[in-house]
């Protein structure tokens, strides 16, 4: 009877019971949700105190032109007050005072904002926006053209709004979203990348632990080295799957809870709001606003778009490539772990294993832009890179035969690496205190199989 289940069980249980696993499992989704929620929360937690700002207008042109907002109250003071404001600013209770010295159309820099603290971008933007709108109108008026308001209105309403549609086999139209396809593909590629590294390293450490603690000889007098290796690899694969599933479930739960508890009234702001607040520039702000309005965080719409990407097939493929990629590399990591006596020795062998993974990530980046180029195609076929590159392509509708071929190659690939690695592993775990190089590994590989 195979003892793999027994080994697998130990590998799995000791890892999921670890504190680090539990912490990561809880922390991951919180961080992930925070990525979405923090910009939105920042919006809610914004300063809600009223700010009073004094204006001293030496030019006399702008009285009443800067409107009060919900939080900003402007009061116009006579010029005689300026000295008092300057010298006893602290006691006046104003947040800031604005001094306009001249006609801004002639001298745009004749305006200054004083405060005893750092002035927020919001305040500055509000003032400059109000004045700019007013000045624009003034300027337009100075041309004295008939029906100018109407013309301007027309110009401002020019918009191009392309809807991307996906044609089904039967000619049905479905609305698709390039942005969402990109985000999904990026997410998949990164997940595969990170998990191959994290859990591949766990395999390496696990093998090394057994070797250095010298328990391995006792174990392989009870089970075959191959069973021990496979038990460990599969056990850790299940740990990885457990983590992914828990992350997805928790993230979904947190986002749902946040959505219902915090954002009941307002539509959930997009992350773009956060960027806008930081960027602060008028033009980008205007663009962002439009974008936010059109793509706004709208569950229904996003779900609809995700639906156009065949979520079930995509998810199945994701799990397949995720596991396939992990299995392909895990056995190599196991072979490395078996060859070395301590982790510092791992560098020279880690290098050739990590190179293809990193290349795959770069190619995956290219795939977001051009998912059907020749380069991307080949890298999505090679088993060492396909788990990452193909996952980046999947949301962009890859022909069935390509997916099938890539999957078949991946299976062949991990069968090969497992066979290859097992031969090194078998000898490596019993070798101590030897300076190991590639020649040595090759010798181990060629030792008889019996």
């Amino acid at each position: 009877m195979s003892k793999i289940p027994l080994i697998l069980q130990r590998e799995y249980l000791t890892r999921v019971k670890k504190k680090s696993f539990i912490i990561m499992t809880i922390l991951g989704p919180i961080l992930f949700a925070a990525m979405f929620a923090i910009p939105a929360l920042m919006h809610l937690l914004e300063d809600t105190k009223e700010k009073h700002i004094a204006i001293i207008d030496h030019s006399g042109l702008y009285e009443g032109r800067i409107q009060n907002s919900d939080l900003l109250i402007f009061s116009y003071l006579p010029a005689s007050e300026e000295n008092k404001l300057r010298n006893e600013f602290g006691s006046t209770g104003y947040y800031a005072f604005l001094s306009i010295d001249d006609d801004l159309l002639k001298r745009p820099d004749a305006i200054r904002l004083f405060s005893d603290g750092q002035i927020t971008i919001d305040v500055r933007d509000h003032i400059s926006r109000s004045l700019r709108d007013f000045l624009r109108e003034e300027k337009l008026k100075s041309f004295e053209l008939e029906g100018l308001d109407h013309i301007m209105g027309e110009i401002n309403n020019v918009r191009v709004n392309i809807t991307t549609l996906k044609l089904g086999q039967d000619g049905t139209e479905k609305e698709s979203s390039t942005e969402i396809a990109m985000i999904v593909s990026m997410l998949f590629a990164f997940m595969s990348y990170i998990f191959i590294f994290i859990y591949g390293t766990q395999v390496l450490r696990g093998v090394m632990e057994e070797k250095t603690s010298r328990i391995v000889e006792v174990i392989i007098s009870s089970v075959k080295p191959f069973e021990l290796m496979m038990g460990k690899i599969i056990g850790i694969a299940l740990v990885a799957l457990t983590q992914v599933v828990l992350w997805i479930v928790f993230t979904f739960l947190i986002l749902t809870v946040l959505k219902t508890v915090v954002f009941t009234d307002a539509p959930m702001p997009t992350r773009l709001d956060g960027i806008e607040a930081i960027a602060g520039s008028q033009d980008t702000t205007a663009q962002m606003e439009e974008l936010a309005a059109s793509t706004g965080f709208n569950y229904g719409r996003i779900m609809e778009m995700i639906n156009t990407m065949n979520p079930v097939t995509t998810l199945i493929l994701f799990v397949f490539y995720f596991i396939g990629g992990y299995l392909l590399y895990a056995s190599l990591f196991a072979a490395i772990g078996s060859a070395i006596d301590n982790e510092t020795d791992s560098q020279q062998f880690m290098f050739p294993v990590t190179i293809p993974i990193i290349i795959a990530l770069y190619v995956a980046m290219a795939a977001f832009r051009n998912p059907h180029s020749e380069l991307v195609f080949w890298f999505s076929m090679i088993p060492f890179t396909s788990p990452i590159v193909m996952m980046a392509r999947i949301p962009f509708d890859v022909p069935m035969w390509q997916v099938a071929l890539s999957m078949a190659l991946l299976v062949a690939g991990f069968l090969f690496t497992t066979w290859f690695a097992a031969r090194i592993y078998r000898t490596g775990i019993l070798m101590y205190g030897k300076k190991v190089n590639y020649k040595e590994l090759w010798k181990w590989f060629r030792y008889s199989t019996r």
């Binding site: 009877m1 603690s213 328990i215 006792v218 174990i219 007098s221 009870s222 019993l430 101590y432 008889s448």
Partner: protein, 306 residues
């Protein structure tokens, strides 16, 4: 009949011949010493018996038939370099390793309880291995090795790391196992324990079995006509008489008697020696001295070098 037999076993590590047509026969229900200097090939042979690695040529017979993979559960192996999972709890780990040997969980639990009670180490059950001392961990490893009541036990340097009290406990346990019918292979450099415990030995050097047989036979075979003679009385004359025919290697005084070690020439025997001195002094004892395994080991290995 041999319980375990290695026939013409060859193991070649890419040009390095670890075992060169080795024949070893371990009789049923005996303690068998597998001896040899470091790097002689003992561990390789033990690993082949444990099916950790396979022979390139030759075969292993177990209980009269070729060794098969299910025999693993009938063998208990305590390697020289031994360890446990440091972060795992003692009890949990013992259960796991027992199950790997094919025991059911319930069985393993029952027998572990017995041993933990016998050695009064129940408080260790929930401790992590890293909290145990080296000697404590060795004890656990010993229990794990014998837990599934194997019919063949292989101990590689079992006494290293044990204090004299625990080493003695271990010795008794090994003798107990023999009484209960187990066959035991014992690999060690500690020759006094070989003399004390082993029935048979095979000495391996540089991949070859160079000496094999029952311990008493081997010692007899290598005897150097050395005799211990305890006398009193007219010592001067006795010395002269003995020196004429043989060589006195050493003398020492024990309880007023003189204890001599005498090396006799080949043609001389004990009767002859006694006749020489019997009319001149009182004889209190006379005994042939057999060489120790230590001396034999060194002699055989050195001769093999030439």
């Amino acid at each position: 009949m041999s319980f375990l037999e290695a026939r013409n076993v060859v193991k070649d590590y890419s040009g390095y011949l670890a075992l060169d047509h080795v024949n070893v026969a371990v009789p049923h229900n005996t303690i068998f010493g597998l001896l040899g200097p470091n790097g002689a090939g003992k561990t390789t042979l033990i690993r082949i018996i444990n099916q950790i690695t396979g022979p390139d040529k030759g075969e292993i017979l177990f209980d009269g038939r070729p060794l098969k993979s299910s025999d693993i559960s009938r063998i208990g192996y305590l390697p020289e370099e031994r360890g446990l999972y440091k972060k795992m709890k003692v009890g949990e780990q013992a259960l796991y390793l027992a199950q790997l040997k094919g025991m059911s969980r319930a069985d393993a639990l029952k027998r572990l309880k017995f041993w933990f009670e016998k050695y009064e180490i129940q408080p260790w059950w929930d401790k992590k291995v890293e909290e145990l001392s080296k000697g404590m961990a060795q004890k656990i490893q010993f229990i794990i090795t014998i837990l599934h009541k194997p019919s063949l036990l292989i101990f590689d340097e079992p006494f290293s790391g044990f204090d004299p009290i625990n080493a003695n406990l271990l010795k008794e346990e090994i003798l107990n196992l023999k009484r209960e019918g187990a066959t035991i292979i014992f690999s060690t450099h500690n020759m006094s324990s070989v003399e004390e415990l082993c029935d048979h030995i095979t000495l391996i050097n540089r991949g070859k079995a160079i000496l094999t047989g029952e311990v008493s036979d081997v010692r007899y075979q290598y005897k150097e006509n050395l005799v211990q003679l305890d006398i009193s009385g007219n010592l001067e004359q006795a010395y002269t008489l003995i020196n004429e025919k043989a060589e006195i290697v050493s003398t020492k005084s024990v309880n007023g008697n003189q204890s001599l070690q005498i090396r006799m020439p080949r043609e001389m025997d004990v009767n002859h020696l006694l006749k020489l001195v019997i009319n001149h002094c009182d004889i209190h004892g006379c005994q042939e001295i057999l060489p120790g395994m230590d001396d034999i080991f060194i002699k055989v290995v050195n001769e093999n070098k030439k």
